[in-house]
Symmetry: C2
Subunit: 186 residues, 2 copies
């Protein structure tokens, strides 16, 4: 429903601004332009709302990556494409990206099922595994490489939103930084 989207959008904005527990459900309903009861009609508890918002946000990022994939290509090109597209999305949706980071370091993370977490990481894990199997990437634990990738993206994003670069400079830095990262794992 439309109201569900309004609630999720309001929650996203307020959570990033005031934190999860720092945002009352009443404020979320108000910001979304719906009644208090409507919020609880769609989300059984506040925690359900937080989890649903995380999954929704992550799904939208995943969809962006699918829409911009380069399937017929070398492993390096596909990995670079994924890396860059995450960065582009993160820069264009910086509230969403900050919410994801906030969620990751919060106690809510443990409420996510292992399956849901694996489902989200799978495309990247597969890519890394393929790289190792074809001896392009050096043999190291897959989740170690994933962790380096993931946090490298955080680092670059953190820098880019503080530095004030033109889009051209930004894109060049994203390209260059991927090459640095690539050099690290081959």
């Amino acid at each position: 429903m439309d109201k569900v989207k309004e609630i999720l959008a309001a929650a996203l904005k307020l959570f990033v601004e005031y934190g999860f527990h720092g945002t009352p459900t009443s404020k979320i309903a108000q910001e979304a332009g719906v009644a208090n009861g409507t919020l609880f009609h769609y989300f059984k508890t506040k925690e359900d709302l937080v989890i649903a918002l995380y999954i929704d946000t992550k799904t939208r990022l995943a969809q962006h990556l699918i829409d911009n994939a380069l399937p017929e290509n070398t492993l390096k090109a596909r990995l670079k494409n994924r890396y860059s597209q995450v960065m582009y999305w993160a820069l264009e949706h910086s509230t969403e990206f900050r919410f994801i980071q906030q969620f990751h370091t919060s106690p809510f993370l443990s409420r996510l099922s292992a399956e849901e977490m694996y489902r989200q990481m799978k495309p990247d894990l597969d890519l890394i595994e393929e790289g190792i199997a074809t001896k392009i990437i050096q043999p190291r634990p897959v989740d170690f490489i994933f962790s380096l990738f993931f946090n490298h993206i955080n680092g670059l994003h953190q820098y880019l939103i503080h530095a004030n670069l033109s889009t051209t400079e930004q894109n060049k830095l994203i390209e260059d930084t991927f090459d640095l990262l690539w050099g690290m794992i081959i």
Copy 2:
């Protein structure tokens, strides 16, 4: 006072477990074994407590780095030492490290003064600047390199606490991973 330490220790533990706003001051006082009023005698507001705890934790990390510094050495050795010592500290104080990460992605971060933030980053920024000035490190924005370093540490830490490695394996991985990072910036 002793009670201040008890309060900070209790707050640290509960914040990491339940989040900032998810932890009532009454529970903190209870866990610390002091009365509710005592907490507010030492910390004017709950927010003051959060900020004080962050500064205290960061100061203890900084002290660990000072205690284990290698001042008379090459830049690479000094940087590697800092990198490793942060990792050792983070692994031994993983609640503290998780609190720092939680704080960094929370809205509380903006309550920290710019001076306090700069004060904390200065030793590393100086080291990176020295490396660039002496043409050992490639000329890139100092805070870009800092950001990569910082998030690289997060990535390795994240992997190490999930993987179950022996201390020897851990230390070897820390050494190796620094070399990867070093290769990226020279």
